[in-house]
Symmetry: D2
Subunit: 295 residues, 4 copies
Amino acid sequence: TLQHIFKTIFQASLELQEDDNRKALLVSRKKKQENTIVDVKGELLGNGTQTFVMGPCAVESYEQVRVVAQAMKEQGLKLMRGGAFKPRTSPYDFQGLGIEGLKILRQVADEFDLAIISEILNPNDIEMSLEYVDVIQIGARNSQNFDLLREAGKVNKPVLLKRGLAGTIEEFINSAEYIISQGNDQIILCERGIRTYEKATRNTLDISAVPILKKETHLPVVVDVTHSTGRKDLLLPTAKAALAIGADAVMAEVHPDPAVALSDAAQQMNIPEFHKFMAEVKGFRDALAGAQLVR
Amino acid sequence: TLQHIFKTIFQASLELQEDDNRKALLVSRKKKQENTIVDVKGELLGNGTQTFVMGPCAVESYEQVRVVAQAMKEQGLKLMRGGAFKPRTSPYDFQGLGIEGLKILRQVADEFDLAIISEILNPNDIEMSLEYVDVIQIGARNSQNFDLLREAGKVNKPVLLKRGLAGTIEEFINSAEYIISQGNDQIILCERGIRTYEKATRNTLDISAVPILKKETHLPVVVDVTHSTGRKDLLLPTAKAALAIGADAVMAEVHPDPAVALSDAAQQMNIPEFHKFMAEVKGFRDALAGAQLVR
Amino acid sequence: TLQHIFKTIFQASLELQEDDNRKALLVSRKKKQENTIVDVKGELLGNGTQTFVMGPCAVESYEQVRVVAQAMKEQGLKLMRGGAFKPRTSPYDFQGLGIEGLKILRQVADEFDLAIISEILNPNDIEMSLEYVDVIQIGARNSQNFDLLREAGKVNKPVLLKRGLAGTIEEFINSAEYIISQGNDQIILCERGIRTYEKATRNTLDISAVPILKKETHLPVVVDVTHSTGRKDLLLPTAKAALAIGADAVMAEVHPDPAVALSDAAQQMNIPEFHKFMAEVKGFRDALAGAQLVR
Amino acid sequence: TLQHIFKTIFQASLELQEDDNRKALLVSRKKKQENTIVDVKGELLGNGTQTFVMGPCAVESYEQVRVVAQAMKEQGLKLMRGGAFKPRTSPYDFQGLGIEGLKILRQVADEFDLAIISEILNPNDIEMSLEYVDVIQIGARNSQNFDLLREAGKVNKPVLLKRGLAGTIEEFINSAEYIISQGNDQIILCERGIRTYEKATRNTLDISAVPILKKETHLPVVVDVTHSTGRKDLLLPTAKAALAIGADAVMAEVHPDPAVALSDAAQQMNIPEFHKFMAEVKGFRDALAGAQLVR
């Protein structure tokens, strides 16, 4: 057992080293105390003001995107999400409009002075995407596609990184490190629910991940209430929880006519629902801000 | 395939029947639209005012409980939790003081005019416990101990029912139905985190369960932030999320000297931490109430 | 960091103590090297010969049990399972025949010289059950019902303990320790699948648990292929896997007419399926035994 | 409720269509009844003979690979695995030797007449890899990297596809469909354990997935016992379970000196352990084959 004590001392030294490595992570708050503020065409994430990312699940047409953009403009929103490259479980499901989709997003964004967040799936498309998007999204299925992460780390463009389908917080932080290690520190982390046995929701929103990520890293954190719940009736309550716990932004999906949407029909809000949602969450956000209730 | 259509019609009828059964659940909001308000010695749960349940993990001594009670009294709190019968993974861990613990809780509660919530493990102890506790707690490990649930359903005493370690929301609701089916409708549901692969927290707080339970049932819902996170640094943010999403109460653990606690040392607040926590959560709760932000 | 080294030495001492405690577990193979052999009316579990536990999910009538018993007798089987007290998610589902069910099991068992394994749910029923059953089963939902475990530990009757719905192997072993700590070492451990996100099977059979349990404890291990898969088409392949990996017995459900079964209709074999299953698994078992392929 | 019946009829038609789509999956056994036999330089997978895939976790040097190859040759094995591109959680962990690693594998393979299985991470590397590898491996983290799957589907080279870290069987089958939809039907499916709450093993081996995949698809199925358990003491028992349940091959890791391995040190066998393992599993496999116990 003296042997055991020595073995443990050895292990302690090892852990100290690992600990130093973790301290050395560029995304770590131990490395940089103040918040990283990501500037997306003038909209700031991470500066203490809570904001919203809205838009359709998938880009289907210019008209569809335009209707959503107009509604967002009415609400004074700036950050629009929309999928042009859609990763789908089956190869026979709608895979998105591709570059055509990006062009539509850019055209509408320029028309309404919005910023575009859109997912890129292939390292080869990062360079091309710079012309169209304001934020490169890396999706849950690609959260450990390390070549994609590295490519996104080499460009001068904000990256919204989603947590893996069943990713640990530690893996999530390390995936962000893959990006920052290449030079790009404009990273937004996105909690989007994790896979569990519970079937009442599409995924299980891990709300505790928000304060953990804010504590462990200096990066802004967004909560995607659409993919974490998969239920329209839970968007508002989970958005409030996300704001209360200190998320820098809430993300949700809007579609002019969800019933005919080519993907995720059941979970997207229509335009009147969107306006109702925005009224409530903005009221909530402003009350919290007024009472200085979120740090 | 015509055969398939017929089979499906048959299945539809079956589902309709099951649906009717679900409607027929006595805990269901379909059965009773208005909230059930549970009255615990004058403190109401389910009436729209959000409150707090605090206290030590386990009862260790009269002095220990008294110190916590005094601090709670200073904060104007009424509902005290404390374990006399402790279900522990190992038979060799501290199993609680048993009836002695209940007597201590009762004595201190009477001294400070508090109400006592304490876990009962054995159907045979329900009757005995009525003399000492104001709310019978049924713990996560016993969430499908149906004989215990039925016994608790036969008495005239509120019951706080915890979700199972890896219980589904459907199972949770049915466990409550076991209680109410015996006549006792004074049931408080408690979300306390579920078991997942994530190791950053003790369990994963399923915050979405709160609005789902409020929608599906007419019962008050409490969030136990201590057992769901297992981390003192997450008590405050998760408590805010719980209040924001509409929980009727937040539960957390306090101990005069957590370092020497006989169970769950790492996750209990000490007295100064408790006062700080209460100041923040009450401020938050009151701001929400003032702005009428939680239904 | 010297401080860290010292802290780690302290922790090492603590762990050594815990390790000693684990060594001290009465169920541990560190405590007792040779296999515990459980003798159920002459049928031995744990002696290296692999056997089978078969029978209906729930006892419904004398005739139903008799038909199964006759088929088992034809196959030379001895160990019959059958539920008299059924723990069901909903209070309105069939809860079993209770003592009447136990009486039926006993009557048929005596007629065919079988041994009976049946679940007991309430600590108060342990004493009564001794008259009827040859093995007390403690089910997955009660795997941490510690008072029930302790009662089962006080009697002189074998206990079949199922792993919890989402129980860890460590919890499972400690639950067995609750039984043995009261004096009863006639314990059979039963792996019955764990709760995961995968929906293709009712639970996920954790086949690795078998060699781990055989290594960590000296107790016999049974695999319940019915509850772990919930699919009749997987009973045979998983039974082979269980035998190959060294399980002491395989458990599965048989019903004279599964379509009208009061519980778990879809997953029970009918009599001809049972005979076909037995022919295949016995052939497999005997070939392994002949080639001395399972230790 | 008549409305409900009509809605259900509508849904039934929808499901029928989906069912047809599933039938239409090119990997489905409904589409093609007989087994697909994958020919890897003369070694056949899927023809009923069970085989083995062995090799180091990562390629570290020519000498290291050579020692393993020699041991494999002694055992009459043909299929060697080895990682040249290593996907690692942290960007600062050893990422593999890259093309240098592939060259070493090729050189040794030619020397000993072995076939090489190695993971490719980037769609751009598929073409390049054809010169070096005999089977392209797509790893668990890339199981839904659809562009990579499609690239692998365009070449005339067998592909070994691993199940995702927490992938469902349905997702796994659809990922294979991404490959086959591009023309390449030389696909080997690999069960490698799924992520659960259980910490006794690195992942939880989902042994039931093997018969499900064999039933649903016509593709050969391999079980990776190293990554599913992460424990050397479980390699042999789980390998036996895999063979008993009908896997076409068992995969495990071997390293000349695991203690100094640059990755996964704890779970790789050394050479003497490998010879002992092979003696036992080949004996087991041959006994099963002799008794015609695996279909």
